[in-house]
Symmetry: C2
Subunit: 217 residues, 2 copies
């Protein structure tokens, strides 16, 4: 989370325990996979309120088709809101989606995605539209998980820039032009394991400094 | 470390194992307690070379008065160099020393010091000369260690700004004036435990963005 008070409301008729299970699972993949600068707020919170007025057969368990339908809808709402937090980061000129796959497990993928998404050097490179694969791989290398560049492939805005331990012969001008898009994707495949994760972040620009150095409490 | 190749040379007559022990201990408290932006380089390295030409009685063990004398001299050199790395961070206008004490152990203190020293919100507050105790305590609160604000005292450039769970009645103008100094100290006492640590960092300014967003490899 990144300084947020989130309240999601629904008219579903659903037991509190089922609501809590859905919310915890969805929050882990959405609001807890957002970073603007790595800092958090003491008031970061997310609440889910259900009135029960929809009149559906009460969803009391944490599984089954009705629960899954609700969970998917909740995910769609929270995913959109989480992405908007990154997009609205102080001074953001790019919204960045970092996808990591191929790790031993989801937890390793999350650590890699977070290290990349939080790296000031990666975020300034994106602000400068620089296809700087070295900064991204360096961030991955210090994430605290097993990471072998010889097994890794890196794609920026759909252009593969690194594979099997070396940069590809990509056209720097074409990739730099692709990085002009408001929405930038960074996809790192780290091997052939089943783990995967996604983080949303934004680039780091003069706007961030202006807002946070000049704002006094 | 923060993108560095460090080479320390000495003419001491000393066994490789004793040199290694001294270097590892000193590096842990100096070069490994520096952060500019949290990023590291794949070539970060520190080497210690000894010619043995001093003609002293060979220091073969990793303890004793001669070893300690050498270790203290090595610490002085590495501490100065580590501090210069922080001072020379991209766009730095302040060199910041973060001291943490009173934790259960040194490791907890190091985690608190690192969280504060790496926080972009803390670093922009210092750039803006804002005695923003809230950002510092919020960073401490997410460091992943036991931290109770009610037990904490925070001092900025010698001025106590927070104690026993609340801000002191400090004079904002006086503290803001003190923060004009090139060298800024942040001292957080987190309790009455024996743990302590120190991190060097710098503030985060427009200069960092200019250098890292505009430099392309």
């Amino acid at each position: 989370m990144a300084t947020m008070l989130g309240v999601v409301v629904t008219d579903a008729n659903m037991a509190p325990s089922a609501l809590q299970k859905a919310l915890a699972g969805v929050a882990a993949e959405t609001f807890n996979c957002v970073t603007v600068d790595g800092d958090t707020s003491t008031n970061d919170s997310l609440a889910l309120l259900a009135s029960g007025l929809a009149g559906n057969a009460r969803i009391s368990g944490g599984s089954g088709p009705a629960f899954e339908t609700f969970r998917e809808a909740l995910f769609a709402v929270c995913d959109s809101l989480a992405r908007q937090i990154a997009a609205d980061g102080e001074g953001a000129t790019h919204t960045v989606s970092v996808y990591v796959g191929g790790t031993r497990n989801d937890d390793d993928a999350k650590k890699l995605a977070r290290a990349i998404a939080e790296s000031p050097l990666v975020k300034t490179a994106i602000a400068g539209r620089d296809p700087n694969w070295g900064r991204i791989l360096a961030a991955a290398g210090r994430a605290g998980v097993v990471f072998d560049p010889d097994e890794a492939a890196l794609t920026l805005c759909g252009h593969e820039v690194f594979k099997d331990g070396q940069p590809t012969e990509f056209d720097r001008n074409i990739v730099a032009a692709a990085l002009k898009a408001r929405d930038v994707s960074v996809v790192l495949l780290a091997g052939d394991g089943p783990g995967r994760a996604r983080f949303y972040t934004c680039d780091l620009t003069h706007g961030y400094i202006a807002i946070n150095a000049e704002y006094h409490t």
